[in-house]
């Protein structure tokens, strides 16, 4: 057992444990906070994968914005928080079965893939990954168009969200 492997197992345990709490816990606000724990764990995984930029973006975007948005939504809809009622609907058994099925299916598929136990090759240190990434996002022959489309999508979502959530003034 190497240190990195131990670290990975710790983070994996955190991620899976908190994810399990997200889907089972009764109090919605706790579910949201457990989600934040999961997100931090995933950010740590990114860092372990030498993707520091992704780790930071994960925290800024997910923890700083998305999770906070969830907490807001939960607080705004707290009249019936169902904190006391059962958190799962009556189909949960089937759902659990399907969850297991999907995991089993994915595992079966992956196990048969020949690259299943690949090791990572060393990352060349002379290339600045962030510069590469930034350049790729604004190069027409690379990912400029997807980048622009994503920004338009965000704009549309912004306007749509404001429009949908805006309470119509009845006067």
């Amino acid at each position: 057992m190497q240190i990195t492997q131990i670290l990975f197992l710790i983070f994996a345990a955190i991620i899976l444990g908190s994810a399990f709490k997200v889907v089972t816990t009764k109090k919605m606000i706790h579910a949201a906070f457990w989600l934040i724990v999961t997100l931090f764990g995933v950010a740590a995984l990114y860092a372990m994968l030498n993707a520091g930029f992704m780790a930071m973006v994960q925290i800024v975007v997910y923890v700083g914005a998305i999770a906070i948005l969830f907490i807001f939504a939960i607080m705004l809809t707290r009249k019936e928080l169902l904190d006391s009622a059962a958190p799962l609907n009556k189909n949960w058994g089937v759902a659990a079965l399907f969850g297991l099925l999907s995991f089993g299916g994915l595992y079966t598929l992956l196990r048969n893939w020949e690259g299943f136990s690949n090791k990572a090759s060393a990352l060349s240190t002379d290339v600045d990954m962030i510069t590469e990434l930034g350049t790729a996002l604004v190069t027409p022959n690379a990912y400029l168009l997807p980048f622009e489309v994503a920004s338009v999508l965000l704009l549309a979502a912004l306007i749509g969200a404001v429009y949908v959530a805006n309470e119509a003034k009845s006067d």
């Binding site: 189909n91 089937v94 399907f98 999907s102 299916g105």
Partner: protein, 721 residues
């Protein structure tokens, strides 16, 4: 930074100014004109820098840069910028004139004056009443109600012009071309509440559209023939040779056909006969527009394009016999030069004279290109842009001064644009007078000092040296008339005594208007000196800089014509003679309703000329009326009578057939048996199935996933395993 990067950026400031003004600052006149003028200044500074870089480089060929633009099936459509000596020269005058005109517009549209009493959007300002501290009421000019919009439009226009000049291919050139066409339409019809302005706008748009359709045909032909629109490709020796040897029709080669089709576009844009009719009407727009679009830049674009495609229509030219395409261009140019000059002598509108003068001068350039005088045409293009912009701005200044007089007297029946109402303005508006005089002399080709003399002289010399006598004589006649009507205009407007009280109360215009005049007049004089032939009067002068600079745009520059006394003499005679006769004829023109001296001299012809050879009426009878008539006949007789009848009878027949089928077959068989029967089956089935539709999203997801899993497992075991 790289010069090519700067070139890319040249059209950007005015374009941004357009969007900023339209979207954000259209409520604020001050911000709008600050943005507009500073954008023009930025582009001007950039253009000057590029020009400077081009001039200081001794072995200058071109600044080029291309990028991939539109992905096509097998590659990219490239766009790019190219500044070679020709476009550098054009960029030079375009930058200056556009900047000057932006500045001039600030004063012309009465910035800083109060809002008008009854001014409405779409009408020229009528003046405002103000009360001074003593309680006296004055009428003063009022600010243009659509001030910000004006700057937005000319901003967009400037962006189009810069795009056209810097582009390295005919496609982006055409884009700029069409942007300018749109702006021209918008600006001619700027005072859209005036019916005449509206009609003039439509007329300009429709007329130039005719040319543009042909131009587009030419572009399409060119693209099919060569697979590219980039100058570098289409003007390469191999392509030109291939095009020149490919026959098209009527004895024209493919190169000639393409050249002519593109040239028709230029005929529309540069208002050459027979598509010249829109330009005089375009004077309905505000004067800066007339100066910018219809004298200095847009109409020059047609000539610029023609010069640009010179290699195309001259392909196969052996420097002795003109190619058919060149002959046609030379003919149209020379004819237009003379024809428009004759009309100009009978115009009384101060801008009308200049409008026809512009047509005539553009004809000079076209004729010069037609006979292969490449450099002379470019030279005249540049000098003409300067002095014509100067003249138009000067005339705007005169009108502005006269409007001041009209506001003062309050007699709105007096037309401030009619030269008969002026006279003696030299004393009232000294700066305008002197600059106008310089511009007028440049236009007439006053010897030695003015720019117009050198450029016209070069055209004459070329025409004479290569033996194109017909063109030479026609142009000489036209030049004589030019000098004559110019002097007529100056005499009627500025000299003598004031013929109306309005002219007596005319007033010099503000500094924003006179500064551009002064600056432009410097160029109207000085720019000619860069193109003095080195063997002028058999002296040995320094090298003809302009000729050697612009001449190198072509791979094989043409030699300048050898000096000869005959064209120089002709040029001197027609210029001085025309000016002299003009002054002598009109110095006695004393009263506003006196009969024009020329009317007595040429009584029947004069009427003809005064009405512009009835071209408008002829077009009206030949094209507009028949078109209206045909459409009316078609609606009334063909459409309603014949076609509708056929349709109606179809209707009746099908109705009869339909009702039979319906009663005999449809109702009993289809409806009763298949229709109702199937519906009942579906209803029974649906009643049973609807229980599955619980409206619960998660149950739907479960069933979808369940099906997915089944399919997936089946696939896995059947296909993969």
């Amino acid at each position: 930074m790289e010069t090519t990067n700067l070139i890319w950026l040249l059209p950007l400031p005015p374009l941004l100014a357009f969007f900023i003004i339209v979207l954000f600052t259209n409520k604020s006149n001050k911000l709008s004109h600050i943005i507009g003028v500073s954008a023009a200044a930025l582009s001007w500074a950039g253009a000057m820098y590029v020009f400077y870089q081009a001039v200081v480089d001794d072995h200058f060929v071109a600044f080029t840069d291309t990028i991939d633009w539109l992905p096509l099936g097998d590659g990219y459509l490239e766009i790019g910028v190219r500044i070679d000596p020709l476009s550098a020269a054009v960029l030079f005058f375009v930058g200056i004139t556009i900047f000057m005109i932006f500045l001039y517009s600030v004063g012309y549209h009465n910035f800083g004056q109060p809002k008008g009493d009854h001014d409405k959007q779409g009408l020229p300002p009528h003046g405002a009443t103000v009360e001074d501290e003593h309680g006296h009421k004055h009428t003063v000019p009022s600010v243009e109600p659509m001030y910000a919009r004006f700057f937005a439009f000319i901003g967009l226009f400037a962006a189009g012009m810069y795009t056209l000049v810097i582009s390295d291919n005919l496609l982006t050139l055409f884009v700029g071309w069409e942007i300018m066409g749109l702006c021209s339409y918008l600006l001619i019809g700027f005072w859209f509440a005036k019916k005449s302005a509206r009609n003039a706008g439509i007329k300009a748009f429709m007329t130039t559209r005719i040319g543009d359709v042909f131009m587009l045909l030419g572009l399409a032909f060119l693209y099919t023939a060569t697979g590219s629109l980039s100058y570098e490709v289409i003007f390469s020796e191999a392509t030109l040779h291939a095009l020149a040897s490919a026959p098209a029709f009527w004895g024209l080669s493919a190169a000639g056909t393409i050249g002519l089709l593109l040239f028709i576009g230029a005929v529309g844009k540069s208002a050459q006969w027979p598509l010249h009719v829109w330009l005089p009407d375009a004077m309905e727009g505000p004067t800066p527009v007339s100066a910018m679009i219809h004298a200095a830049t847009m109409v020059s674009a047609g000539v610029y394009m023609t010069i640009r495609i010179f290699p195309l229509f001259s392909a196969g030219w052996d420097h002795h016999t003109l190619t058919p395409a060149m002959s046609i261009i030379a003919f149209i140019g020379a004819f237009t030069a003379l024809f428009a000059a004759t009309i100009a002598i009978a115009q009384n509108d101060v801008k009308g004279v200049l409008a026809y003068s512009t047509i005539s001068q553009l004809g000079f350039m076209m004729a010069a290109i037609g006979i292969g005088a490449y450099v002379a045409a470019a030279f005249h293009l540049v000098t003409h842009a300067f002095f014509k912009a100067l003249l138009f701005l000067g005339s705007g200044s005169v009108i502005h001064g006269m409007e001041h007089g009209v506001l003062h007297t309050g007699d709105h029946s007096v037309d401030p644009q009619d030269m008969r109402n002026m006279g003696g303005l030299a004393k009232k508006m000294p700066i305008t007078f002197w600059t106008f005089l310089i511009g007028g002399f440049a236009l007439s080709g006053f010897p030695i000092v003015t720019a117009g003399f050198w450029s016209k002289d070069e055209i004459f010399a070329d025409a004479f040296a290569h033996g194109h006598t017909a063109v030479f004589v026609t142009l000489a006649l036209a030049a004589f008339l030019t000098a004559f009507y110019t002097m007529r205009q100056i005499t009627m407007t500025f000299l003598g005594e004031a013929r109306t009280p309005e002219a007596e109360h005319a007033h010099e215009t503000p500094w924003t208007m006179t500064t551009p005049l002064v600056i432009l007049s410097i160029f109207a004089v000085g720019f000619g000196w860069v193109g003095i032939p080195e063997d002028f009067m058999n002296l040995s002068l320094p090298t003809n800089w302009f000729h050697s600079f612009v001449g190198h745009t072509l791979p094989h520059p043409m030699a300048a014509p050898v000096f000869s006394w005959i064209p120089l003499g002709t040029s001197l005679v027609v210029a001085l003679g025309g000016l002299g006769i003009g002054y002598l004829t009109y110095r006695n023109f004393k009263s506003a309703d006196a009969v024009d001296p020329m009317r007595k001299l040429l009584s029947p012809v004069y009427h003809f000329i005064e009405n512009k050879y009835y071209f408008d009426e002829a077009y009206d009878y030949l094209f507009v009326k028949p078109a209206t008539w045909i459409s009316e006949v078609f609606t009334n007789k063909m459409d309603q009578g014949v076609i509708d009848w056929i349709l109606h009878s179809f209707g009746t027949a099908s109705f009869a057939i339909g009702s039979t089928i319906r009663n005999q077959f449809d109702t009993p068989v289809i409806n009763r048996f298949f229709g109702d029967g199937s519906a009942e089956v579906v209803q029974i089935f649906g009643r049973w199935l609807r229980k599955a539709q619980t409206g619960r999203i998660q149950q739907y997801m479960l069933s979808a996933l369940g099906v997915l899993f089944i399919i997936f497992i089946a696939l896995y075991y059947l296909v993969l395993a």
